[in-house]
Symmetry: D2
Subunit: 346 residues, 4 copies
């Protein structure tokens, strides 16, 4: 039985999740993990998982002769150089989203991957969620006819720490980028134009960093459909992740997942438990499936389910949204990059 | 346009509801109302409704030459003689449930109605509820195949006053009789045997009057199906009226009606409003429809939707359940009457 | 007991519905009905309702000495002159929405009403719907904190006939105007800016008349909240009328009403019946309540629940949306009227 | 880190599931597996899991010096002797339900376990289901007051093969035994009396083996509550596993789990996907948790969550139900064993 040998760059929360998910497969060995802050703690973690090499130097992984594939789970600013190095070294790559905050750089990295002929999968984990997959299947099968209106709700239970706000890249690039990918995924069409309305309603710290915490974005798709995404950095009732596609022959709607189906009726009200709290709970199975499909793509030389091009498109839309929010007008996705160059203010 | 002229005997809550519902029809005139406690208040009520005659004497209505149909909304012990008198006077009859506490008397009354050739409809209002009608339609259309299991939940929000407990006839004859009729209605089959388990869990007053306040009754139907009804005199969250029919090709289930569809999500829980509080709210439209169908049956000489025979059957099942609860064993519906005669203790 | 005497101008579908709803009250007499096409059919209809006067001339109603209040249910282009005449004649007025397609005219009419000191209620029936009322109550009571995002879905089961498309005033003024009013009602805040994206996806006839059949509109509210309304002229599954308000302490969401709660489970799927088909079914009780509150406002000299100012605001937002859709940019509600004057093209 | 070393007796479907679930824990080693039909296939299966010993002889496991705990996943008739042997050998035991078809034997086995001082956990996996755990928590916390009515629905998607029907022990001992345990679990009270009504509605093969395929059983609990369980061997829409506890202060109800939350609305109906198909899908996480808690009980010397006494009680109730079904009368759980001895016909 062939095995894929993996190196993981970045041993933060998501890196460790991917590691444990990969270890569920009998066709995976994790040979090495690198992290800038590698130390005894990470070594202990690696030991219980039989991961032989722990290092601060990602180069050791990239140039490791036995490693087939690299998981890039380090901070966003490191993604592009790491992709380029890994591609040149002939390694397959799984990279967290977004590839970068700079589309030109993202495009260069993806081009390098293409030239190297290795596989690159982007970590848009939500595509693997049981609910959103079902939406996509129904739409693709024609079950609701031609899509007319796509609605995506995506709200976090808690805003990030202020330290993160500074470097997040803003709500459109950091948070809504998942929804831009979802919009493309469920509609089967490209987004051509966006109009973004945002506001700071939760924490003034967002304003201090030129960001918003609440946003409503209108989308125009190539197939004529219209869409809307709403984001909030703080839904006190928990992670709110819903999608609706309305079309000429009907609609398909998915609601949140809950920890149980219990309904409690008392003299006061009818009550049920809040949705699964956040992405770790909600997307637990989706994270497993995305890594399994990556391994499967390598083992059986299939297309990866989320390509570098998917990463580029989502970033383009996010950039257009960011510009729209600043300029107060709709922005075409195709004009975003040019507009950015013209506008030093953005 | 032909009009049906009505007399209403018994101007309590349900009598007044029927009156107002009848007045919605342009084909109905209410000529008279009688009540043992008729007085200025009832006269004022009647005046605003253009009801000419208010009397303490039900005979004035029964023998009124212009009255076509009598609504019997007085206490249960008066039903049988009033039905007999009205039938002999050639009036059509709408009678509240149960016809009586004594099946032999009920049978005599129904026989008299048959002989007189007038129409008699029994007030099993729940057959006209939008939810239960849909269950019956689905079952009758074969949508779930042959019925295998019938489940009926019926719980009141509050127990009745102790004064009423004394004269109610007990939970099986007073409350569960609706569910026995529902069981026949949705299954399309006769109940052949019952086993009743009851207990006093809410108010010891029920025990003092030889009654129970909580009951679970198993049913065996002629078509082989099994059923179960559960009753409670006190569901603190409101009126609980649900039905499920499970069959060889699937199931159909109806849940409660709510005052609105609002779902409120907060940091504590997901909450919605309690069901419609009690029968007046829940069966408002059903009460209207049952009287309209009675009027329609007279005007167009159709069968009434709930016959005297339906009244008899429900009483027979209720008696069997009462005996089963006392004897601690299953009782055949066909043996109930004979068993009652043998048993002076019941 | 005091009675309000009503005259109804316009005996189309909605005029007749209001008439029958008014007749449910013992405090209302309908003295007259006028319609341009009055004839034997309307006379027969009026006769069964004891309405004495049937005429083609609305002036007969407006100047009828015994009439207290006028219902204006005729075509939109007649609303302004009829309001002005009725106000001058000292009659209270219930007028269907929108007051007119021309805000200047609407403002003149409302000013005239104010001067005359009569009551004017606008027919935004949805404010009286059990679901939307509950949303408004929850928001107003602070149950979800400060509103951050308001989402309104409003889709018709079938597009109107092409004859109507021509004269409808367009989707924003004809259909979404209800949602603009709803946005103000549930948020408790004024809409300051809109961005409208529309498309023709259902029937090219809309394009021929400069209209769209599918639209997504972003709203900015004075209190900082953001909103989005989506409209479609054709939801094949039936009337889709949902609202969600998301705030700092939670959210409140209402879904559609259904004819029953039946859930059918078979070997294929779990199925339930479609929502109530269209506005007549969905808003049946809301129509009753809006007329009852109008009567109550007159009888007890209370404020009407939907004022002329509410009518003006909704029209202003609709105009801004129409302009936004044409201009392809966000439009402030405050600039819409000026913009319209500048732009002969709109 | 201490590890528990396991031997698994019986490598059928459930044995293999337990093995894989156990292997998720870093504190478990599986040393051996035995099966009467052990062969190359099982050896290959064991090899990929690093299980060193594969044998046909369960004695090799029971007397293996390094094995701490035995999983008994072989056929029901082997449970009692294996428990006795394992207990005498000082091994902790996890045994699938039911312990046996013969309560006297079950009692002897449990007594032997007690004497040996080893741990014995019975495989009532449903206690670990997220929904049923929530019901139990709500009831135990007093959230619904005193339990009055317990309702359990348990229906399989497909009947078993006729070969299995012969040896299953009948619906009460084979299938409803889970529900008897659930009744005790969620009510926090012992079942004192049962009345079982059964019928053959799905497959005459059940009748040929003295069994039924559809059953409704009434329960009386020590705390006064009443209960009802309904079982069907064939719910065409999938595995139907629901529980409701109704009490003095409210109710808690759990419905089925579904593969996704998608709701599809079309011109025909509103549709969603069927429940998770069968126990492997529905109880996947519950199976994992029951083995984890068993391991935890051994490692930390805690009580097991489902004891031998729990196994005995469920069997007693099942026996009473079987007798009730045959005798056509309610049977006290305390009299069942005596009744069985008297009755050669059962």
């Amino acid at each position: 039985m062939k095995k894929i040998r993996i190196g993981i760059i970045g041993a933060g929360r998501i890196g460790k999740i991917h590691a444990d998910n990969l270890l569920r497969s009998s066709q995976v060995d994790i040979l090495a993990v690198s992290d800038l802050f590698a130390g005894p703690e990470l070594e202990a973690w690696a030991a219980t998982r039989n991961i032989g090499l722990v290092t601060k130097d990602s180069n050791e992984l990239i140039h490791h002769p036995d490693i087939d594939a690299i998981f890039i789970c380090s901070s966003t600013d490191t993604h592009v150089p790491l992709i380029q190095q890994a591609a040149r070294a002939g390694k397959h790559i799984f990279c967290e989203k977004p590839i970068s905050m700079d589309i030109s750089k993202t495009e260069e990295a993806v081009a390098e991957v293409k030239q190297a002929g290795v596989k690159l999968q982007i970590g848009f984990n939500r595509r693997f969620d049981h609910n959103f997959k079902r939406v996509q299947e129904v739409v693709e099968s024609g079950g609701i006819g031609d899509p007319h209106i796509i609605k995506i709700t995506s709200r976090d239970p808690n805003p990030p720490h202020e330290d993160y706000i500074k470097v997040s890249g803003g709500i459109f690039m950091d948070m809504m980028i998942h929804d831009f990918d979802m919009a493309r995924f469920v509609s089967g069409s490209e987004v051509e134009e966006v109009y973004a309305a945002g506001n700071v309603l939760i924490n003034p710290a967002f304003a201090e960093h030129g960001d918003v915490d609440t946003a409503v974005v209108t989308l125009r798709f190539a197939n004529g459909a219209l869409g809307v995404i709403d984001n909030s950095r703080q839904a006190v009732y928990g992670y709110d992740q819903r999608v609706e596609v309305f079309g000429s022959k009907g609609s398909v709607t998915v609601s949140n997942d809950h920890p149980n189906t219990a309904v409690i009726a008392t003299a006061d009200a009818i009550t049920s438990d809040k949705p699964l709290h956040f992405f770790l709970e909600r997307y637990q199975a989706a994270y497993i499936e995305e890594t399994q499909m990556f391994i499967d793509a390598i083992l059986n030389d299939k297309c990866v389910p989320v390509s570098g091009e998917d990463g580029i498109q989502a970033e383009r839309i996010a950039l257009a949204a960011k510009l729209s929010s600043r300029l107060g007008r709709p922005v075409k996705v195709s004009e975003a990059l040019e507009l950015l160059k013209q506008s030093s203010a953005v």
